[in-house]
């Protein structure tokens, strides 16, 4: 298979990558750009571990072809912190023990960021909806809700 040159905006930086056109955004992020923070649990769009933000909206990177993303702003877990300043979600997830094995965490953080960018006062129902596509096998979700609430509170102040 011949590789194609792609230009991708990831975490505020422009990358020119040579990748096979059938490779997914997930594969290109992990294998070509070395951004292994984005995880995969199924590569079928069922688990949500690979969730990244494209122009502010959560997408499953395992079902997205990078060729469709010319000019789009992609944000991965590596781009969540503002330089050395952690995102309120990151500190809240640590304090509330919302990450156990941590494998679904990058995807959940991205879904949660999209939610909090929309509203910093989400209800439990809105939180459950926002992460309904992200399977977590460790926490039972409770600590995740508590962390999102806490991060929302901190983002308001």
């Amino acid at each position: 298979m011949t590789k194609t040159l792609l230009s991708l905006r990831v975490n505020g930086e422009t990358h020119t990558v040579a990748a096979e056109p059938h490779h997914t955004l997930l594969e290109v992020l992990r294998e070509e750009l070395g951004l292994t923070g984005t995880k995969h649990g199924c590569e079928l769009g069922e688990c949500g571990a690979c969730t990244v933000l494209v122009d502010g909206l959560p997408v499953l990177s395992c079902l997205t072809l990078p060729i469709e993303l010319d000019g789009a702003e992609i944000v991965t877990v590596e781009g969540l912190a503002n330089g050395p300043q952690l995102h309120p979600l990151q500190t809240a997830f640590a304090e509330e023990a919302a990450a156990q094995c941590g494998y679904c965490t990058p995807g959940i953080l991205m879904s949660a960021k999209a939610l909090l960018d929309r509203t910093t006062t989400p209800t439990r129902e809105e939180m459950a909806q926002a992460i309904a596509g992200n399977l977590c096998r460790c926490t039972g979700y409770t600590a995740i809700y508590e962390a999102i609430e806490k991060a929302g509170t901190r983002m308001r102040s």
């Binding site: 923070g37 094995c101 309904a132 460790c138 979700y141």
Partner: protein, 799 residues
């Protein structure tokens, strides 16, 4: 004020930052120069002889670098040394659909995948054995020809304690029922992954997502024929495991073999479907339980029979079989107990240990049974359980030593939080509330291979800048074991957990710990670290006491300082104290180890499974609503209290309780690992139906602390026990809601609706066909066999 400076504080886990920033390095995140990518060819047959296996076309494919088959690694292996019946890749015969047959290493994943179709494999199909009944009765079809037991029996065990017959004759009421617990799987979000690198110095390193680096280390030596001294296993952070990564796996051996052959690193990462075949999950178990009780509810005797559908290989099956019987006695007083367990082979992916290992299924049966007895005798289910509790500091009828025992407090807590007794039997039809209790081990009393060595070893080093490093062979699977090591070290030395460097899961750098299974790490590794760090603490304290001219017990270490308790203004930093101690005593490195005490179990064959240095206890209340039109069971809330001895890190303990409650909920309502003609029916996360955030009930976790005398700072396990009471609590709540006993799992909407429409009082098995009506069972068996034969053989003339 707490007597501790670190223990019991709600601080973040020391290793959480990597998870939150994307820098944690899981096995599949490892990319090495010149690395090859591996894929496994898996069997398409449930039971067949391999008549041809030719890899030459695959090997000739551009980009393929090496291929291996079962013939390259024919040595028998398996986690339990006494029952090894597997090979790394199938040899001559396949025993389940999805069994690894050959492995390819290629320059990239696409090439490896494409080349799988170039392996020429032919099978001669054999009749598959798919049910417990078939396995027990079909002498003519043997999954393992050389097993030496009748038909397809893997193991049968029989134990009897006390006078069971007399116990039943003293009973005023005998409750007798059959139960079936459906099999299910772990489904960690991280699929299994391994990277092997055989380097120029003749040493092999395997990074792998495993719970048991030490046991894997032993098996690699056996199968690969390379001295263990030249092999290093590094357990990478596991993206969830739950028991599913505690066997040695085909991809681990294949990665090593192919790396040794090619002298290049080789990576294998399973895809999601493959994880359903790797399995080693919860055994489907058919159970028969007979319990005698007096009018006041006091139990007089119990007879429990379990039939475990083990799948194609042993895995931990011998332990699983014993575990279905062993822990029945540790919760409620039982003067006489008989246990018969049988595990059979079937042509399905091997079952093994899943969270609660072998105790989850019988606990479900027993706690549903107690609910029935309470109802018959008109007793409140909470008060009844409280009345018949096994006392602390006692022995059970099967010889198990009980020390701290907090089931009573757990029941009090859930009662208080839910007002259970006021609401039970009082809610409108369709709404229900149920309760159950349970127990689990804080680590198995014996290792899986017989030896006199410690179960856990640890080492602690302090450098001249006051830097502290703890080394221990535990595997971090998300349960927080690295944080346990850091917490215990920090408490002993008077630093903070975030100051401690943790080196875990590395067989070259860290002393042996047996692994992250049987909920053993907090208790056993915690005690080993406590001893190792305690020895350094003594050296620091002695050096300061001498310098300050005060008795040693006046020297305190806390919050990165050492000070005189009588005169806190006399203080030095921890780093200064470390320099002084090294000047006086020499290099500051210490070791510690832990081995469970003797005499904590019985003295009979089979007594090795069940003993533990301390049992955890838990109670759960489930509140459900059942939609009478659709049969959908909604679990509104689960309230669970758990006796963890002492919570070293309360958020982690609460996380284990909530995660266990979630997982138990999934097993009770939705999850099942089921097959059609040997083919997995639902090998994807979507079809398997993992509960999402929208399904998962509201959960309330309550920590009960009984401060165990032998646990590190009083701690016991938290990772597995809390799953156990959730399933029977839900089943009992469903009964409270609609008056239907669910003596089988999962409690799906289809089953509920069917029961409601047919006015059934009970859904569940009636027995083992061959016992009730042997001829009838065999007739059904031969009819189904004939039907299958007919399906497989096209009618004459159509070929």
């Amino acid at each position: 004020m707490s007597e501790f400076s670190v223990v019991g504080k709600r601080s973040p886990k020391v290793n959480v930052w990597g998870h939150l920033t994307g820098t944690a390095r899981y096995a599949d995140d490892i990319i090495l120069p010149r690395m090859l990518y591996g894929r496994l060819l898996r069997s398409t047959q449930a039971h067949a002889r391999i008549t041809k296996l030719d890899v030459s076309r695959a090997l000739a494919h551009p980009g393929v670098v090496a291929v291996c088959t079962g013939a390259d690694m024919p040595e028998l292996m398996g986690i339990m040394p006494s029952t090894q019946d597997e090979t790394a890749l199938a040899v001559d015969k396949v025993r389940y659909i999805g069994e690894p047959v050959a492995a390819i290493a290629a320059v990239d994943e696409d090439t490896a995948y494409d080349a799988l179709s170039l392996i020429d494999v032919e099978y001669e199909p054999l009749e598959p054995i798919l049910t417990i009944e078939e396995a027990l009765t079909r002498e003519d079809v043997r999954i393992h020809e050389t097993s030496g037991r009748p038909a397809n029996v893997f193991k049968d065990v029989h134990l009897e304690f006390g006078d069971v017959e007399a116990g039943f004759s003293e009973a005023d009421h005998i409750e007798d029922a059959w139960y079936f617990f459906e099999g299910n799987t772990h489904a960690p979000i991280e699929t299994h992954s391994s990277v092997a690198s055989y380097d120029g110095d003749g040493k092999l390193t395997l990074w792998t997502s495993t719970q048991v680096p030490h046991y894997l280390h032993r098996e690699l030596e056996k199968v690969l024929g390379i001295a263990r001294a030249r092999v290093r296993v590094i357990a990478t952070p596991n993206g969830g495991a739950f028991g599913g990564k505690s066997d040695p796996f085909a991809h681990e051996f294949a990665a090593c073999w192919l790396s040794m052959r090619t002298k290049r690193p080789v990576k294998f990462t399973l895809d999601r479907e493959e994880v359903f075949y790797a399995h080693r999950g919860r055994h489907p178990v058919l159970m028969h339980l007979k319990v005698g009780a007096r009018k006041d509810g006091e139990l007089t005797a119990a007879h429990f029979q379990s039939y475990l559908d083990g799948g194609a290989y042993a895995s931990y099956g011998i332990a699983t079989t014993y575990y279905t019987g062993a822990l029945m006695t540790v919760t409620y007083r039982l003067p006489a107990y008989k246990f018969d367990g049988v595990r059979v082979y079937t042509n399905k992916p091997p079952c093994g240990p899943k969270r609660g290992h072998g105790t989850t299924q019988p606990r479900y049966a027993f706690e549903c049974h107690l609910d029935k007895i309470a109802r018959k005798l008109d007793l409140d289910p909470v008060a009844y359980r409280q009345r018949v509790l096994q006392p602390p500091n006692s022995r059970t009828v099967n010889g198990l030593r009980i020390t701290s025992m907090g089931l009573g407090q757990c029941l009090d807590e859930v009662q208080r939080a839910t007002r259970f007794s006021e609401r039970h039997r009082q809610l409108p039809r369709g709404k229900g509330i149920g309760v159950a209790g349970s127990a689990y081990i804080s680590g198995a009393g014996l290792p899986i291979y017989w030896n006199e060595m410690p179960h856990s070893g640890a080492s602690v080093k302090i450098d001249r800048g006051g830097g502290v490093t703890v080394y221990c062979g535990t595997s971090e699977i998300g349960q927080g074991s690295d944080n346990v090591l850091a917490t215990v070290t920090a408490e002993q030395l008077g630093v903070l957990p975030e100051d401690v460097h943790v080196v875990s899961g590395d067989t070259s750098l860290a002393p042996v710990d047996l692994g992250s299974y049987s909920s053993r790490v907090t208790f056993m590794a915690g005690n080993a670290v406590r001893q190792a760090a305690g020895r350094l603490r003594e050296l620091i304290v002695a050096a300061l006491a001498e310098k300050w001219g005060i008795p040693a017990d006046r020297v305190a270490l806390a919050y990165r300082k050492a000070y005189d308790l009588a005169d806190p203004s006399k203080a030095v930093s921890f780093a200064e104290a470390a320099v002084l101690a090294e000047s006086v005593h020499g290099t500051l490195v210490s070791v510690g180890s832990y081995k469970p005490p003797r005499g904590i179990g019985g003295d009979y064959k089979g007594a090795g499974v069940g003993p533990t240095p301390a049992y955890s206890y838990q109670a759960a209340v489930a509140e459900v609503s059942v939609d009478l039109e659709t049969g959908v069971v909604t679990v509104e809330r689960i309230t669970e209290a758990h006796d963890c001895g002492r919570a070293l890190n309360p958020p982690s303990v609460e996380g284990q309780i909530e995660g266990s409650a979630y997982m138990g909920y999934g097993e009770a309502i939705a999850e099942e690992q089921v097959f059609r003609g040997g083919l997995h029916k639902k090998p994807s996360l979507l079809e398997y139906n993992l509960p999402t955030s929208l399904d998962t009930p509201e959960m309330r976790a309550i920590i009960v602390e009984t401060v165990d005398a032998e646990g590190p700072f009083g701690a016991k396990e938290a990772g597995e026990g809390p799953l156990n009471p959730v399933i029977p609590a839900i089943a009992n709540a469903v009964y409270d809601a609609i008056g239907v006993r669910f003596d089988e799992t999962p409690i799906t909407a289809a089953k509920v609706l069917d029961a409601l429409q047919k006015n059934k009082e009970r859904v569940g098995p009636d027995g083992l066909g061959s016992q009730k009506d042997q001829k009838g069972a065999l007739r059904r068996l031969s009819a189904s066999t004939a039907a299958r034969e007919k399906k497989r053989t096209p009618p004459v003339g159509t070929r």
